[in-house]
Symmetry: C2
């Protein structure tokens, strides 16, 4: 892997006149099947579909974890959450994220993409949901970003500001208000103009940077498609899918405006744009949960519905238009690919899981086949995909026969696969061919030659992975009411500080 | 409805210089989700996707029945199978089709599309699977087609020619050989060049007719995607989905070649082409069963997976390119629309269920909303869709908790919806909003205002339908080993006649 990376680090800078601008558009809880080009019947995304028609569509693109925070940590570090610390050991195989009570955030040891890009003079901005720690030392502008507009947490609320403070919205390193209090989301109707603010922030950053001789990195990650969904009046009630569809339509509009702006500024041939989502659609919601296409289950699970994501690469003149690839890709590859395009060497003192996709993107080379996709849930490797085959070492869903019960796999039932309890299959993993069986419905018989052939390839890959694995110190173990957003940076100037309660650290509880 | 039809019958001929050629491409057991533009992850259909990009994509297009024969009978007559007789009363709500032992076929009383098109001097040909009766009097050339290349039944086999004869292949009104015996399908590998023969027949017909001053009607309906799947060496083993995917790739290739031929002959601006399938993908198959996208269950069922179909209309210069519609469409509409485009009045002495879609196709008018979609299984109206709402009056699947058991809904389980026994819900139909819930997962509570509002619209529509319904004489009740394809027309000349056993008429047995 290292020799391959080095090869491209040397190659790319010599073939590119100057490093491209980089825009990563990361959606929140949007499913693989929510975009028109991946088959959504509501067809709410003409601009995203056009982006695919002008670029390269990944059919086998994955996130690194089925939950927001670890997925985002993997994008920023190019490393699996089990390495970068965005997991918990409080219970086995539990998903964990960044609530207001979370004490820690992304470790100082981790080298983040915006900071590394500084080596090539990139100016960087994040707009939307950060989710890698909401306390001062973890905020974006203290971890390598030049600019920030958005929040450290999800837009949950409204809260009472007594037991729980409302979530602060930041401009760079200071709060400028709070969700619900200053940035209105009408909970009853789901109306809010926040996505339009995020869009305006993005367009303004692009315009400002376009006249600079230095390249820029924009990480545009609005959260309107995350529960509770919201949309601007322009999109409110416009989708046949309801509130979630309205939010998708607004996201699509924003994607269109951003690409249009690049063309208007005539910098589209020098800007690499990637569109994806942080995890699968939240199919446990009774409504407005989004769509994972043909895939099993959704967010929080290590079935395909939880981790297969929309993936579109766009760079007119460099990435050939209208191409479709079955290259196995991962959100962590955006870290390595971005650095390669920028001519920056990824850190050499640690394992980087992301691979450089530029040979596939720019030269349409034959797929890079020596790359597994790892499916972790918290501290457990649940499954791995190698080529067409996916082996489940552990199974766990919340499925019960009662459809009114909480479940991550509503309406789906596969014997020995959608299981209510954690099932250890490490002695004889459950195998699927996810090319001919994307829904993980037909277990490949352990007695078959096919099983033996596939596992003879997969077993040594898993063994090598586990032997090399040094788990990072877990960041998601401790919670404390005192660390909530009572007095965020900047609250003094606005007189928005709230009294901080007594510290009461506890182990965080992670149900799933 | 009648007044509306009349209106367009008068309007269309005056606005068109001459009636267009008509090509209906009807796939066999291909699911909604099997084409790239509807989201298939394997992306095997670049030509079909291009057809959609150049034409109009229907997201809500339906067949009239979840099984081959009745669906095809509905296309040819513009009428529900319960009216045209393509159903059985041997048991309640049983799907029935055209096996070799079937005594009857499409009634003489029924007015078929090719015969009606003769009023406007159309020359017509069917290529592929007829399935409306395999005995002499029911064959295409005796029911209005000028030419025929294909067979009266499915390509099941190989048979022993003693207990069961192999299925004959016809050229016009005479057999030219039999499947497996003369038209090879290698059962072990699924290799066969039959689709290429069907393609060549189609291209040759188009070429010949293009120099005629009269318009043509081509009904191109190959069956490679029906079990047992087959593909030519060019496509064999090429798909990542296996044998079924190979067949889809070959169908896509053929679609591309046909459209290309129209362009080459410069008649594409005078040819209306529609692409669809006869019923949902056969999801009960362990492999190679195709894909119904986000929809519940598949072939044989009245859930969306059984009856929602891909639908693409193409007519450069007349149908605007790249349009997407949510108009509720039905295979029966192709009957009425074709007649309207040809300037021929549909039969006025009987109920025609198909509506004229030309206002939607040509003028992009607002959707025609006063049209229900009926979901029948044999002699029972199982469900109806009106607008966004679908009410199930009867429920029936073959779902059991044992996934190794035969089931039409593998891997899917919705309480009170996927039911092993026939359940009568006519007193309080089970309601879904299939716009926000295409997978029929979230039952609308009968206590809700939404339920009462929707049912207040649906109930009178169902009442009127049932009151006006005069079921046709059922064609699919009687079976007899003596009527099998022992001595098809033309067998004498080839010396291919087989001895006919003694007649032993029985009631046909329909399991599902």
């Amino acid at each position: 892997m290292h020799s391959k990376l080095l090869f491209f680090c040397l190659l790319i800078p010599s073939t590119l006149s100057s490093p491209p601008n980089i825009i990563i558009m990361l959606m929140d809880d949007m499913g693989w099947g929510d975009v028109g080009v991946n088959g959504n019947w509501a067809k709410e995304t003409p601009n995203i579909d056009k982006m695919a028609a002008e670029g390269m569509l990944f059919m086998d693109f994955y996130t690194a974890n089925p939950l927001c925070s670890p997925s985002r940590a993997a994008l920023m570090t190019g490393r699996l959450p089990i390495r970068n610390g965005f997991y918990s050991t409080n219970a086995h195989a539990r998903n964990a994220y960044t609530p207001q009570t979370l004490v820690n955030g992304i470790h100082e040891y981790e080298e983040l993409l915006p900071k590394l890009l500084k080596q090539a003079d990139y100016k960087s901005k994040i707009i939307g949901k950060w989710h890698l720690g909401h306390r001062r030392q973890f905020l974006p502008c203290n971890r390598g970003f030049d600019e920030f507009f958005g929040s450290g947490n999800c837009h949950f609320g409204p809260f009472d500001d007594e037991k729980t403070p409302n979530i602060p919205v930041y401009k760079n390193d200071k709060m400028v208000g709070r969700y619900y209090t200053n940035f209105t989301i009408f909970k009853g109707t789901g109306e809010s103009n926040i996505s339009q603010i995020f869009l305006a922030e993005g367009l303004s950053f692009i315009e400002t940077q376009s006249v600079s001789k230095n390249p820029f990195f924009l990480y545009w990650t609005p959260d309107a498609t995350h529960d509770p969904n919201y949309a601007s009046p322009m999109f409110h009630g416009k989708s046949i899918r309801g509130r979630y569809g309205d939010a998708v339509m607004e996201m699509d509009y924003c994607v269109g405006k951003i690409l249009e702006k690049l063309k208007e500024l005539k910098i589209e041939q020098n800007t690499f744009v990637f569109f994806t989502s942080d995890n699968g659609a939240a199919t446990y919601r009774r409504r407005d949960g989004g769509d994972n296409g043909p895939f099993l289950c959704g967010k929080e699970t290590t079935y395909e519905g939880g981790m297969r994501e929309p993936g579109i690469a766009w760079w007119p003149g460099s990435i050939p238009a209208g191409t479709i690839t079955h290259q196995l890709g991962n959100i962590m590859d955006l870290f390595t690919t971005s650095l390669t395009l920028a001519g920056v060497k990824p850190p050499q003192d640690r394992i980087i899981d992301g691979i450089d996709l530029s040979p596939v993107l720019l030269d349409q080379r034959a797929p890079i086949i020596d790359r597994p996709i790892w499916y972790y849930r918290g501290n457990e490797m649940m499954a791995v995909r190698v080529g067409a085959y996916k082996a489940h070492y552990w199974m766990w869903t919340e499925f019960g026969n009662d459809p009114l019960k909480f479940t991550f796999c509503r309406g789906q039932y596969i014997q020995n696969v959608t299981v209510h309890d954690q099932i250890n299959n490490t002695e004889q993993p459950i195998l699927f061919n996810v090319n001919r069986d994307p829904g993980e419905k037909y277990i490949v018989s352990p007695k078959s030659r096919e099983y033996k052939t596939a596992m003879a390839i997969i077993d040594p890959i898993v063994k090598a992975h586990k032997e090399a694995l040094e788990p990072g110190v877990p960041s998601l173990n401790y919670c404390d009411v005192a660390v909530q957003n009572w007095a965020p940076p900047g609250c003094e100037e606005l007189n928005y500080c709230l009294p901080v309660p007594e510290s009461n650290p506890k182990l965080c509880v992670w149900d799933h």
